[in-house]
């Protein structure tokens, strides 16, 4: 019999109590898994964006301001810019589903030059470029929506006054799920002109691919200087800074949620500690016997900590399992808030959560372990002898 076997027997001694403790630790870590996954997914956009040398030109007024379509060509002509496209968020309703997925009006001729890491079949790209009403979608979005090539996709405008009648001509592969659909900006603009809308001619934002040899900040500065004295001054930033701007919008909420999550973990650590303390209190005589027959303080300490860590790690594994399933479920429900599958997220952070579980085990077990280690054999034995 090994000491680990003995520790495991102690874990299984009171199955109900151990199970409840494992469940309490598990659910708190599942919550942490979901929160951690959510924040990590938000951060991932910025990390991913920083690899691709893209910049975003928007109005100094923010999303409510205009970026004239003529500025796209001007940006294209600037030093260090390889390609640029208008990129306007449409935000339409699809079959009564609001925010079912992201829809962007862009330039089919250049959009895959701005996002060269996105891959599309050449014939599908040609079809996208040749037909004003054509659209392409992330293949994962197409799979989720069960769209086939040639499928008609009607979108009802929410703040744009023109409704779209799109036809899916292709799907693209992106390194991570974008949950996006792209259509021709000029189709939207023609529709808006036909309705004499004031929103016509607005590119929304401009996404541009820059030369890797140049500092993105220099290009951003040059663009903003170029338009500073125009009617529509711009604020240009790197794509990662743009992503961070979005993250910052909900930053306080993230922090708030994280603090609540930590508070839950802390309170359940105390619950686990109470359970361990009760368990050890019931075993005072047993600990005294172990010490009487020669078990050292350190060995007793290690055994009790081993037991609490076992329970916490089981809870941790359960928590990560439940949390991952929840994240996967949330991803399938809302790919916009949870853009990546758990497969994309699996990695070092799971080890971080296991370390958190081990930490809960250590914290919850340390006081009972020290008390057991310091127990006087005579006091412990006096209870029964």
């Amino acid at each position: 019999m090994k000491t680990l076997q003995y520790i495991w027997r102690n874990v299984m001694r009171n199955k109900l109590r151990s199970s409840l403790t494992v469940l309490s630790v598990g659910f708190s870590l599942a919550l942490m898994t979901i929160l951690h996954g959510y924040t990590a997914m938000q951060d991932q956009w910025g990390i991913e964006a920083s690899k691709h040398h893209r910049i975003v030109v928007m109005s100094t007024m923010g999303f409510s301001g205009d970026v004239p379509i003529a500025n796209v060509d001007r940006v294209r002509g600037m030093e260090g810019v390889i390609a640029a496209v208008p990129y306007a968020w449409y935000g339409g309703v699809y079959k009564d589903q609001q925010m079912a997925f992201a829809q962007f009006a862009t330039d089919p001729k250049a959009v895959f030059d701005v996002w060269p890491e996105y891959k599309i079949e050449a014939d599908q790209l040609k079809a996208f470029q040749d037909d004003r009403q054509a659209c392409v979608a992330d293949h994962r979005l197409a799979e989720r929506m069960k769209w086939k090539i040639g499928e008609r996709i009607p979108l009802q405008g929410t703040f744009y006054t023109f409704n779209l009648d799109l036809r899916l001509v292709g799907t693209f592969e992106a390194p991570q799920n974008t949950d996006s659909l792209w259509f021709n900006w000029f189709y939207l603009d023609e529709g808006l002109l036909g309705k004499s809308s004031e929103m016509a001619g607005n590119a929304g934002t401009i996404f541009a691919k820059t030369n890797e040899g140049l500092e993105e900040a220099t290009v951003c500065k040059a663009i903003d200087e170029r338009f500073s004295s125009s009617e529509n001054p711009t604020r240009t930033q790197t794509e990662s800074a743009f992503a961070q701007m979005f993250a910052d919008m909900v930053g306080n909420i993230q922090l708030f949620i994280l603090v609540i999550g930590l508070a839950v973990v802390f309170s359940l650590t105390l619950v686990a500690a109470t359970t361990m303390a009760m368990s050890m209190r019931e075993r005072t005589t047993e600990v005294a016997v172990l010490k009487a027959i020669g078990f050292s303080k350190l060995r007793v300490l290690w055994m009790v900590l081993g037991e609490s860590c076992w329970i916490a790690l089981l809870g941790g594994l359960l928590g990560i399992g439940i949390g991952s399933l929840c994240l996967e479920g949330l991803h399938s429900i809302s790919s916009q808030l949870f853009p990546f599958s758990i497969v994309d997220m699996a990695g070092p952070w799971m080890f971080v959560l296991l370390a958190v579980a081990a930490g809960i085990g250590l914290v919850s077990g340390i006081v009972p372990a020290i008390r057991a280690a310091q127990l006087s054999v005579i006091d412990g034995l006096r209870r029964v002898i």
């Binding site: 019999m1 000491t3 027997r9 001694r13 047993e286 009487a292 027959i293 020669g294 005579i378």
Partner: protein, 242 residues
């Protein structure tokens, strides 16, 4: 610290006093104890409740230290040893038998007996040999895979004895080993202890209230109010019953 070739008395207690402090009160428990126990002795320690029997046993077993005087076991002065040293020393030299057996409920009889051996450097095969030998001595080979709750009181105490002897200790200390048993089981346990003493030359100190149990020993010590009032060496009554 311990001389393995030590040939003197197993236990030598000189001018030992023991006091406990409770708040501002000092409670004397033992005073002026002098005692020598030789290899192969089987000594019963008797006396009324509160007379200091268990305290004396704890001193001999290295679980407590005297207030004054010296307690030497196998040539080791226990009063001078650190707690860690005493832990190791106990694992090598002392076998414990408790009134309520104190077996670990989540371990089988075999595993309970093996427990003290996990502190040694013996390998799995050697541990197995030791455990099976101890099981054979106590006659419980057929129950080795049973958990304590599946054993009778007498069988549990026999497992406890096997656990006490499995490391081949120099001294066995037993605190009321038959106190929780019926007469028949108690008698079997006492007979087993007599065998350990006579056949295996184990040195035993046994605390008991029971004169019949004490009658199985070779020597009886009487304590009253912490003072040794009687020391009788006597022939063993192997037929005596509890």
């Amino acid at each position: 610290m311990t001389n393995s070739n030590y040939e003197g008395p197993i236990v030598q207690i000189q001018n030992v006093t023991k006091e406990f402090r409770r708040a501002q009160f000092v409670i004397p428990v033992l005073s002026g104890i002098n005692l020598t126990l030789n290899r192969g002795d089987f000594m019963a320690l008797m006396g009324p409740s509160g007379s200091g029997k268990t305290t004396l046993l704890n001193l001999v077993a290295g679980l407590d230290k005297p207030t004054t005087g010296s307690v030497e076991v196998c040539g080791t002065n226990l009063g001078l040893a650190s707690e860690g040293t005493l832990s190791r020393w106990r694992s090598q030299h002392i076998g414990f038998i408790f009134q309520l057996y104190n077996l670990i409920p989540v371990l089988t009889a075999y595993e309970n007996i093996e427990l003290p051996l996990t502190l040694t450097k013996l390998n799995r095969r050697q541990r197995d040999e030791h455990v099976k030998a101890a099981l054979e001595v106590v006659g419980l080979t057929d129950r080795m895979n049973h958990y304590p709750r599946q054993l009778s009181g007498g069988q549990e105490q026999r497992v406890s004895i096997a656990r006490a002897i499995v490391t081949d200790p120099t001294l066995i200390v037993a605190d009321e080993p038959t106190g929780d048993l019926d007469a028949k089981s108690g008698s079997e346990i006492l007979e087993l202890m007599r065998r350990l003493n006579e056949e295996f030359q184990k040195t035993i100190i046994m605390v008991t209230h029971d004169p019949n149990a004490a009658a199985r020993s070779k020597r009886i010590l009487h304590l009253e109010k912490g003072i040794l009032v009687g020391d009788t060496s006597r022939p063993v009554l192997s037929g005596a019953t509890t």
